[in-house]
């Protein structure tokens, strides 16, 4: 409507918009296309010597190689790495959501001594960079003989993600109307049932986002895993990926690195895109509330 009204100027503006958006889209897509093309190329050369955004000899060899032979370490199968990653990420997500949802509900609904202090405390805890708790966690988990196990690592991840989970979920619960709970209580619902059957279903988007963030923390974390774990049987997929570019990486062709990158990213990318609307609104709403 606007465009028609303004005539030539409108057309020029529209053309400019297309040019700008196309240029930005090319910037956004370039690395993705490059990686996909590399992963699908027959691994005849270790490193690319010319720019290909379309595989010269399309094949799934790189994926096959990664699935059958993910690391240089003997006897470590792709399934084991994937299972470790899943356990770590799933464990972190479950801890986040189970503990976080209960605590966040209390902060959102009840008035109790220390409520304000607790909320400010979570905010402050989030300011500690993850690396801040790394040295003490290294020492403490070593003393407990948990440092080199997946359990210890999951505890370390939960320690980093819980403050965010509680803060984010409190923001979600704040948007659930109180009247619904009061009606449920009138009908003779106990507090636990009200929480589980009335509030939680209404907070589903926020719960999904918090679960995703907990999962992502475990799925793609590398620094703590790399520093803490020692036994190859506990290694994860993201460690296998780092192995390919690290000091031992020179022998692995880049097509295999590309293939493993895609396998590692795909589940996360799909979930992020599906939940994008809730993630953006949740993040900004949570912080506006203060």
């Amino acid at each position: 409507m606007n465009a028609r009204k303004t005539g030539l100027a409108g057309w020029i503006g529209l053309l400019g918009a297309h040019l700008g958006l196309a240029a930005a889209s090319m910037f956004a897509l370039f690395p993705v296309v490059w990686v996909v093309a590399m992963a699908l190329d027959k691994g005849s050369e270790a490193h690319p010597t010319s720019l290909r955004l379309w595989p010269a000899q399309p094949s799934l060899d790189a994926f096959r190689q990664v699935l059958t032979h993910p690391t240089e370490i003997e006897g470590i199968r792709f399934v084991d790495l994937a299972l470790n990653s899943l356990l770590l990420a799933g464990g972190t997500a479950v801890a986040c959501i189970a503990l976080g949802a209960c605590a966040a509900y209390a902060f959102s609904r009840f008035n109790f001594p220390g409520r304000r202090a607790g909320l400010v405390g979570f905010m402050v805890l989030q300011l500690f960079p993850p690396v801040a708790s790394m040295a003490p966690l290294f020492v403490l988990l070593s003393a407990l003989h948990l440092r080199t196990s997946l359990v210890g690592l999951a505890l370390a991840y939960a320690s980093g993600t819980l403050p965010f989970a509680i803060w984010n979920l409190k923001g979600t619960f704040d948007t659930v109307p109180k009247e619904l709970e009061e009606a449920a209580v009138m009908d003779g619902c106990g507090p636990l049932r009200t929480f589980l059957q009335v509030v939680l279903p209404l907070a589903a988007p926020g719960l999904a986002v918090t679960t995703l963030f907990g999962f992502m923390a475990g799925w793609t974390e590398i620094v703590m895993a790399w520093t803490f774990l020692e036994d190859p049987r506990t290694f994860t997929l993201s460690m296998a990926l780092y192995n390919m570019v690290g000091q031992y990486g020179t022998t692995r062709p880049w097509s295999e690195f590309a293939a493993l990158s895609l396998l590692l990213s795909l589940p996360v990318v799909v979930t992020m895109l599906l939940l994008q609307r809730f993630i953006v609104s949740g993040l900004t709403a949570g912080s506006v509330k203060g």
Partner: protein, 299 residues
């Protein structure tokens, strides 16, 4: 409704999370604060007898002792430069693209949006490893693209300027979509009529943006920028995996430098002191920002 019953209920809901957090979040942080005043290093892992050294770690870090081989003011300066330049790009690009996508009568905006959101969905860790390869002097896509235009690409991580350009490009790539998404969400809440009224009054496109759209976007943009500040200030993955501190530690930021004290140096006491300094700096910035935001909102 502050009654003993509700306090009891609250305690029951918070209890488990409070216990776990006390054990895995609070205790390590308090322990770390204690470690910052000791000479805790690798050899104390088995025999727990680190010595209390007072403020020696803090003095060594801030005073620029030769033993650590770092210049704290330089790292902090680079960290701030890194944060502000990134945020400027993120916000400008994000707002500009959101406005373009919002243009009435634009075809294919869904397609553009899908492409532009993609970088945000990729895990930062994978993004970082990939961009490091992209900037490889021989086989990287960037230099191969330049070569196809007849330009010889530089050895990106050999000089500070090109290394900064490389880490910056990576972080702009992964950061602009979020600002774009936030702005798009904010634009939806602005009634189009205000735009049209301003246009009828003869306001130019820039005037409409500056005096009509931007003020209405502020409530959505301010919290996003505050979050972006902390994320970018602490952007470990990009600077550790893409920049690797090259050349000669010149692209090191505070959190990557703190990590070097953990691994490979094993100076846990120094690392804890360093982390504590980072925390105090972030706390100061956050308090300042909260004040500034309040001032803006009260106006």
């Amino acid at each position: 409704m502050k009654s003993p019953r509700s306090t009891l209920l609250a305690a029951a809901f918070i209890g488990p999370a409070a216990l776990v957090m006390a054990a895995v979040t609070l205790y390590p942080i308090l322990y770390g604060i204690g470690m910052a005043f000791t000479d805790f290093s690798v050899r104390h892992l088995r025999h727990q007898d680190p010595h209390f050294v007072g403020l020696a770690n803090f003095m060594a870090i801030l005073g620029g002792s030769d033993a650590l081989g770092i210049s704290f003011p330089r790292i902090l300066g680079f960290n701030l430069l890194w944060t502000f330049v990134n945020l400027a790009f993120h916000v400008t690009l994000g707002v500009a693209l959101a406005l373009l996508l919002d243009r009435p009568g634009l075809r294919g905006s869904r397609l553009y949006r899908a492409a532009l959101i993609l970088p945000w969905a990729v895990p930062t860790y994978v993004t970082s490893l990939t961009w490091r390869n992209m900037f490889d002097a021989q086989s990287g896509a960037v230099n191969l693209l330049l070569a196809s235009w007849g330009i010889t690409g530089p050895d990106w991580f050999a000089h500070f300027g090109t290394a900064f350009a490389a880490v910056l490009t990576t972080n702009i790539w992964l950061g602009f979509p979020f600002m774009m998404m936030v702005t798009s969400a904010g634009l939806k809440a602005i009634p189009r009529e205000t735009q049209e009224a301003a246009a009828l009054d003869g306001a130019s496109a820039w005037q409409r943006f500056r005096h009509v759209t931007l003020p209405q976007l502020r409530p959505t943009l301010v919290p996003a920028v505050l979050m972006g500040f902390i994320w970018t200030f602490n952007q470990f993955n990009v600077l550790y995996f893409v920049g690797r501190g090259e050349p000669l530690g010149q692209t090191e930021i505070l959190v990557t430098q703190a990590y070097r004290f953990v691994d490979p140096l094993g100076l846990y006491g120094t690392a804890s002191a360093f982390a504590l300094i980072i925390f105090v700096i972030l706390l100061a910035f956050t308090l300042l920002q909260v004040r500034l935001t309040r001032a803006v909102e009260d106006r």
